[in-house]
């Protein structure tokens, strides 16, 4: 088969073998069944294990199909896991920017806030974990939309929250293209008058976007007089997104 990638074919064969088997298989079983060298097979299994498609029994070392295969269509990263892995990077982002930090993922066409760090000024604030935000009118939502399959074909009629909300598919599509070019999203009074936000995507294994992290605050603090976010704040957000992404992909899952 010209034009195909051999290692992916082999990985698919390993998955079919595990799915067809009745129990757990050893490395030797799998290598023998597919007529592959043990070293090659081990490399494939280790990779599949890292992405959650294969699980290994802690005691026997036998392999079986991972739970992630069964949940391919739904979110593959547990939201509580995402919060746990990003908490160390969300705090410094809040400290450096002086603004509130939120992390969001997509849930049924909206942004689900999975983590929230207060603006570090010790004023009274309420934890917004679990809140839902519109995808098209927030920096977090737009960062998520720009890298999701749904973002390719935005819905035709979008809710208006302020006079700055992007409500046409065309305007949103242009915006998402821009986000993909620059790598971060900006929201200026599109959801709440007087509020601005900056967000960037969090990437998991293989570059898949699993969430977005961003700051939000008064437009006078976040933006300059031309309604552009301060480059310093954009850099903090992007650094934090990169740090979380690095942690998600570096660690054994």
């Amino acid at each position: 088969m010209p034009g195909t990638v051999q290692s992916i074919e082999r990985a698919a064969a390993v998955l079919r073998l595990l799915a067809g088997g009745t129990g757990r298989l050893t490395l030797g079983d799998i290598a023998h069944s597919l007529d592959l060298a043990k070293g090659t097979t081990h490399g494939i299994l280790r990779t599949l294990k890292a992405v959650g498609f294969v699980e290994q029994d802690r005691v026997s070392g036998h392999y079986q199909l991972g739970a992630a295969v069964l949940r391919l269509g739904t979110s593959f990263l547990d939201i509580n896991e995402l919060r746990s892995r990003s908490i160390n990077w969300a705090d410094p982002l809040a400290a450096r920017s002086g603004e509130a930090v939120r992390i969001g993922t997509v849930l049924d066409g909206e942004v689900l806030v999975v983590h929230h760090v207060f603006r570090p000024d010790d004023t009274f604030q309420t934890l917004e974990v679990g809140a839902l935000l519109p995808l098209h009118a927030t920096a977090l939502g737009k960062a998520l939309l720009a890298y999701s399959a749904a973002g390719a074909h935005p819905a035709p009629d979008l809710d208006r929250f302020t006079h700055r909300t992007l409500v046409t598919a065309r305007a949103l599509s242009t915006e998402l293209n821009h986000i993909r070019t620059v790598g971060h999203s900006v929201e200026v009074e599109e959801f709440t008058p007087g509020e601005a936000a900056v967000a960037a995507p969090i990437r998991g294994h293989g570059g898949l976007v699993v969430g977005a992290i961003g700051i939000s605050g008064h437009v006078e603090r976040v933006c300059d007089t031309h309604y552009q976010p301060h480059p310093r704040l954009v850099a903090y957000v992007r650094d934090a997104a990169r740090a979380v992404s690095r942690d998600l992909t570096a660690a054994e899952r």
Partner: protein, 497 residues
């Protein structure tokens, strides 16, 4: 002028971390490595001190590389360490004598029972302000001296040295400086908590030669200069990990308290220059001592099993794939369904101190799902903290107004909300969940003038999250009653041999 930083070494029970902090107390980079846990017999837990040292040697430069800085930009390094873990090594070769005996290890139970009946036991308790228990390092040293042929003679000749983890690391870092800090020393049972030096009477009671003990120093003050891992950098502080977390939470005033959620959970209340003796099952301990100043003391509620119950749920029951998923599973149900788990895996620590207790799962019916069990796991942590808070309120005569929290489990929103609900006070997380490391960094930075004073550190503290109580008080009382009945079911399980 190039920016300078402070580095913390957090030598914990399961892993070692090196973290670089900036002037605002924010994390710049982190390097972490787990080390092997040895379980040679039931109740025995050991570490390889050399493996831990090699990890520090590697992680230090790694953390600096990740931060993009060199040793010349490090103002000081501070150490926070797992407490009570006991290392004995050869002064000449630098090789440990066997594995380090870890704080969770209960091998000294028979020895401790025997010592408790020996004359002078009460006086040891009086001087150390600690109950005679397997938890502390003194009995471990005695156990090693008894069980290792020739060790006592070598100890008397000063050929082998004792230390807790910070002592071992400073000795390796400096190439032979044998020192400890007052907080770690206060966990040995060998320290006189008033003179803050080794008590000759307590040493005689345990039969431990003075020659093998390190010099006791203040926690905050320059110990020496590192020759390896961070060559040329001053070691500005060493503290037990829980005391470091108290420092990192900037609880510098009497009445301020924090709770750290880790493998176990530890609530510490600053009692200032006054050592408060508990009558409700808490420990009195040294909180910190700044060089040239009197020591600050603390009341401590130690709970052995909290985060490790989640690990047990993940690794032994295999009901979740990762620790944070406990919250996902717990949220599949609305309540505990009448099920309670009391994790008295190695007996109950504070405020009960019942070594013969063992864990129970009670209230099982055919209705119970793994979701209910997950809830019971999280609730077990919150109720154990409630018991300790009650004891602390009773001992101190104060009423806790808010609970400052830190540690890995503070990422669990369900647990934090439940904690606020069962305590009926707000639960507050600061803008730095790595408070153990931060405390070591603060203390080291303070020692070398990187930060001017305690007030400067306090200004770095900001609220990152807050959970307010919402539970109906009748429900809270009923659930607490159920929890207490569940605890009573754990008692008297192990029969005296």
């Amino acid at each position: 002028m190039t920016e300078s930083y402070v580095v913390a070494i957090d030598q914990g029970t399961t892993s070692t971390r090196c973290i670089v902090f900036d002037r605002r107390g924010q994390l710049v980079s982190l390097a972490q490595q787990e080390h092997k846990q040895y379980f040679p017999k039931p109740g025995w837990v050991e570490h390889d001190a050399l493996e831990i040292w090699r990890n520090v040697e590697r992680l230090g430069p790694e953390a600096l590389r990740r931060a993009g800085i060199t040793e010349s930009q490090v103002a000081a390094v501070g150490i926070a360490n797992q407490r009570e873990t006991t290392v004995v090594w050869d002064r000449v070769t630098g090789r440990p004598v066997g594995h380090a005996i870890v704080w969770q290890d209960t091998r000294t139970d028979t020895l401790v029972n025997r010592l408790a009946r020996a004359p002078g036991a009460d006086a040891v308790h009086e001087r150390s302000a600690l109950p005679l228990a397997t938890y502390f390092s003194g009995p471990r040293v005695r156990w090693m001296l008894d069980r290792t042929p020739g060790l006592r003679e070598r100890a008397e000749r000063g050929e082998v040295l004792f230390g807790t983890m910070e002592t071992w690391l400073i000795w390796k870092l400096t190439g032979g400086l044998h020192v400890t800090d007052v907080t770690n020393a206060s966990r040995t049972m060998l320290l006189d908590v008033h003179t803050l030096d080794w008590s000759p009477e307590s040493l005689a009671f345990f039969g431990i030669p003075r020659e093998m003990l390190p010099e006791v120093r203040p926690s905050v003050g320059v110990f020496g200069t590192a020759r390896s891992a961070f060559p040329g950098v001053r070691i500005g502080a060493a503290l037990g990990d829980q005391q470091a977390a108290l420092f990192g939470q900037t609880c510098f005033t009497p009445g301020e308290a924090k709770c750290t959620y880790g493998t176990g959970s530890f609530l510490l209340l600053n009692t200032g220059a006054e050592l408060v003796r508990s009558t409700h099952g808490l420990l009195s301990t040294v909180a910190y001592q700044i060089d040239g100043e009197p020591a600050a003391y603390a009341l401590e509620g130690s709970i052995a099993i909290t985060g490790s119950l989640v690990q047990w749920f993940r690794d032994q029951l295999e009901l979740i794939a990762s620790a944070p998923e406990i919250e996902t599973l717990a949220r599949t149900v609305a309540d505990n369904g009448g099920c309670y788990i009391v994790p008295a895996f190695s007996g109950l620590f504070a405020p009960h101190w019942r070594s013969e207790a063992r864990g129970v799962v009670v209230g099982l019916t055919s209705y119970i799902t793994k979701g209910h069990l997950a809830r019971a796991v999280l609730e077990a942590t919150a109720w154990q903290i409630r018991e300790v808070v009650d004891a602390m309120n009773a001992d101190s005569g104060l009423t806790l107004k808010t609970l400052k929290v830190d540690g890995g489990m503070t990422a669990d929103n369900l647990l934090m909300q439940f904690q606020a609900d069962v305590l009926d006070v707000p639960v507050v997380r600061p803008l730095a969940s790595e408070t153990v490391s931060l405390g070591a960094a603060y203390a080291a930075g303070l020692a070398v003038g990187y930060w001017p004073d305690l007030e400067g550190l306090r200004q770095n503290w900001h609220r990152a999250a807050q959970w307010l109580p919402t539970m109906d008080s009748a429900l809270r009382d009923r659930e607490y009653g159920n929890w207490k009945r569940a605890v009573s079911r754990t008692l008297d399980w192990i029969e005296p041999s």
